[in-house]
């Protein structure tokens, strides 16, 4: 397994380079113009000068090379500088956004807290709710609990968050006045009352997203449990006199986890990708909002940086999932 991990990590480097290249070319090919948001009153010649000031006049291979060194070399050096107070990257040009004309990574770091608080927490919550629901629904298939779970999760998945979010705002912010409809990203938790405020502003976006995540994961959990509950080994285990609890929660659950682990691992990078619509509805302004506004403004350096960060996370978490398969089912061998 160690061998396999090392080999996969080595393969990850060319994969990542290839993905970066594909993303870069895709963004180049995509129609769009960083000057699209500039008012029509600004004449075309001025827009052309602005484009050149962004570095758009240079040929494509040079821009790609520049961006690669900035992203894979200078930005990590900057990170080291920040942690250890060294000066390796001093004077080197970092990845600069076309919108705010300053470092992209600084803003990524600025956005991380709210994304992790809201999207991350909702993912953890969603998973924690989904697993027991999935297990019980499968164990008591077609019981009232199962039917109710199915109904709620299907509604939760099929009604888009742009609607559930607005519905919650209308009920809880407008009519009841319980929670703020706009998330304050500058809020600092320092004492009990500020913690309560943080809870209040998080509760609506977190529940919208948690419902959506829970719906998806619980369906896979249920299906996979159902598959395994009918297997011969379950009958054997029961025949051996193992308690029902041990049979279900140890043997069946362990064998049912493979698809669930896959789904959860696929979801984690999306946590960092933020939840574009939910963030917009509640004005959380996390990484999702950062990505969508960069795409709308055609801020290519920011889009590239964010998507390649996601690519790294996707590769890492899919690797983790593959390693977990081996642990859950020791018969799976990759060598």
């Amino acid at each position: 397994m160690l061998n396999y991990t090392i080999r996969r990590l080595l393969v990850a480097i060319p994969t990542l380079l290839l993905i970066s290249l594909v993303i870069f070319l895709l963004l180049e090919l995509a129609p769009g113009d960083p000057m699209a948001n500039v008012p029509l009153t600004v004449p075309p010649e001025v827009k052309q000068q602005m484009r050149e000031a962004l570095g758009l006049g240079e040929p494509l291979p040079i821009r790609f090379f520049k961006w690669m060194t900035q992203f894979f070399w200078i930005e990590p050096l900057n990170l080291i500088d920040n942690i250890f107070g060294t000066g390796f990257a001093e004077g080197e040009l970092r990845v600069i956004s076309w919108q705010w004309r300053s470092s992209v990574m600084d803003v990524v770091v600025q956005r991380l807290p709210q994304t992790l608080w809201v999207v991350g927490l909702s993912y953890v919550l969603g998973t924690l709710i989904a697993l027991p629901i999935g297990i019980i629904s499968a164990y008591k298939q077609y019981s009232l609990f199962d039917q109710l779970g199915t109904f709620v999760s299907m509604i939760g998945f099929s009604v888009p968050t742009f609607f559930t979010g607005v519905l919650l705002i209308v009920i809880f912010s407008v009519n009841l006045g319980w929670f703020p409809s706009i998330y304050d990203t500058t809020h600092v938790v320092s004492d009990w009352s500020s913690f309560v405020f943080q809870l209040k502003q998080m509760i609506m976006p977190v529940s919208v997203l948690a419902l959506y995540n829970a719906a998806q994961i619980s369906r896979f959990m249920r299906a996979s449990m159902l598959d395994n509950l009918n297997q011969d080994y379950v009958r054997t285990a029961r025949a051996k006199g193992l308690s029902e609890r041990v049979v279900v929660l140890v043997h069946v659950l362990r064998n049912s986890m493979i698809p669930v682990v896959t789904v959860i691992a696929l979801g984690v990078p999306q946590v960092f990708g933020g939840a574009i619509i939910t963030e917009q509805v509640f004005k959380v302004n996390g990484l999702g909002q950062m990505l969508i506004s960069a795409i709308q403004a055609n801020d290519l350096p920011t889009v590239q940086t964010l998507t390649v960060i996601f690519a790294v996370l996707i590769i890492v978490f899919n690797l983790i999932a593959d390693i977990l398969y081996g642990i859950l089912d020791p018969r799976i061998r990759y060598d």
Binding site: A223, T307, N318
Partner: protein, 302 residues
Amino acid sequence: MTDIAQIEEGASRSQWWDVWDQFKTHRGALIGAVFFLLLVLVVFLGPYVWTLDYEATNARARNLPPSLEHPFGTDRIGRDFFAQMLKGGQTSLAVGIAAMLLSLFFGTLVGVVAGYYKRLDGILMRFTDLFLALPLLPLLLVIIMLFRDPLRSAFGPETGIFILIVVVIGITSWMQTARIVRGDVLALKEREFVLAARSIGTPNVKMIMRHILPNVLSPIMVSATLGIANAIITESALSFLGLGFPSDFPTWGRLLFDSTDYLQQYPERVILPGLAISLSVLSVNYIGDGLRDALDPRIRGR
């Protein structure tokens, strides 16, 4: 020769009859299937009965409440909402089902091949990683820029866009299915019955069709259910971004999106399309449940 063919045909028919018999006993599945069929009939045949034009605007009949003349009321520019729901249902259901099938096909193919053939696993899974990493919006912009006009001239504006949207949603949503199917296949491959089948020399293709596929059916069914919902909602997001159907082409997702601002004034306009999407997804879910049970020989006949 003919005899053998006949026998085989007979055998397979009786197998499908078995499946049907089992399916019939699943009450949820039956209700789901009947409801779904009804929905399809209503949205596709409805416009022949309810002949109001979904496009016709009427300045004097804007924002009407539900009445006999307009059972679902009219929208902000006086279009009959019921006619729009019917037309929207045609598009949404067609896109949802077609895109789901496409994504399921891709996902299952990649997943099974990657899980079964060790040599292809690495390359196929890195390919999946690549697709997972691609930013969706710029990808769509590129696809639409490159293919909209050729498709429009080859198939006309409506069919051209339909193909484009189904393909776009299909090729950007197969990855989860692929990863899940592969994970299950990796585990199945080492099970006793597969090893046994291999030891008697079962060829690979037959092995996949007979032993592997039926056993990964339940995650595929779940993916199908989630896939339909996902496709319907993605389609509405595309139309909203101006990348989907022309704006005079209603879909359930778009009706829901457009009405969200009117949530407090005309709640029925939000609830109706939301309910339509949810109920179709729910019924597909029950059909999936029933199919899975019916195709599982261990359950069948019990």
